[in-house]
């Protein structure tokens, strides 16, 4: 699932899809933590998932605000358009 998210991040050039792939990757990492925590019967895996969850929420906030700003500037969601920025 992490590989799927990484593939999506690399293949798609739309900023929204790249953010969604990031979500998938974070989710896959959290799933791995939960499974490891359940395997050894520790609560630490769930703690780490809580941290991943809050980090994903913060990342999505800032990322979507950046997407809005990019759309206002460039009238496009293509990631290649932004790479032509100078300075």
């Amino acid at each position: 699932m992490f590989a799927l998210g990484l593939t999506g991040l690399l293949v798609r050039r739309n900023v929204i899809f790249m953010l969604m792939s990031l979500e998938i990757m974070l989710n896959a990492a959290g799933l791995a933590f939960i499974v490891a925590g359940a395997r050894w019967g520790q609560a630490d895996g769930q703690i780490v998932f809580l941290f991943i969850l809050s980090m994903a929420a913060a990342e999505v906030c800032v990322g979507l605000a950046l997407v809005l700003q990019i759309y206002r500037r460039f009238k496009s969601l293509d990631a290649d358009a932004v790479s032509e920025m100078r300075g």
Partner: protein
């Protein structure tokens, strides 16, 4: 119980593959929501009911609502109206609803069925999680609150439209829809409030 785990995992993988291959953002969002729900079912099966509830509430609730808000705000104009007509007569909702129906049947079986049996080790109760969270990981909680505060301020700063920037953009001929998207700042701010309150 093992079968339920594998069914939920297969649904998660299928919906994730479909989510990253859709061309339309809203279709991909639907599949992504189904993927998150199936991951929540996996958590429930594996013995983490608290995390499963958090996954549904925060990921499938708050974060996906943020995505839907932004997609709806960006899809402006006539193309969006045409697309909406296409959605209403199209059958794009069949795929996500089939996958979601599989998940609902599975959850109904888990709740009404034998229950209590957990795939893997014993279930980790929310009480244990809370004790560990506010014991050795207290500094992590504080750091998470600082991170959310920073995200709140950052999203507010990025999402607002400063007057002088608008003036500059309109002079350059870039900001052609200065009045059309003004409520966008409010939406971003309202969305930025949510995760810091829920986490």
């Amino acid at each position: 119980m093992e079968l339920a785990f594998y069914i939920a995992a297969i649904v998660a993988i299928i919906s994730t593959v479909l989510a990253i291959t859709r061309l339309n953002a809203v279709h991909a969002l639907l599949y992504l929501i189904v993927s998150l729900l199936s991951v929540a079912v996996v958590f429930f099966v594996i013995g983490a009911p608290f995390i499963a509830a958090l996954e549904v509430i925060i990921y499938a609730g708050a974060i996906m609502v943020l995505f839907v808000f932004v997609v709806m705000m960006l899809n402006l104009g006539k193309a969006a109206i045409d697309m909406e007509k296409q959605w209403q007569r199209g059958s794009m909702w069949v795929g996500p609803s089939i996958l979601a129906a599989i998940l609902i049947a599975e959850v109904a079986y888990l709740v009404a069925g034998p229950g209590a049996a957990v795939y893997g080790a014993a279930a980790i109760e929310p009480k244990q999680v809370g004790i560990v969270l506010f014991g050795p990981y207290l500094i992590g909680v504080e750091l998470a609150s600082m991170l959310l505060l920073g995200a709140l301020v950052g999203a507010y700063h990025l999402g607002r439209r400063t007057p002088e920037k608008e003036k500059r953009e309109s002079r350059n001929g870039i900001g052609t829809h200065a009045s059309g998207t003004a409520p966008g700042g409010d939406l971003v701010r309202a969305g930025a409030d949510r995760p810091s309150g829920s986490a």
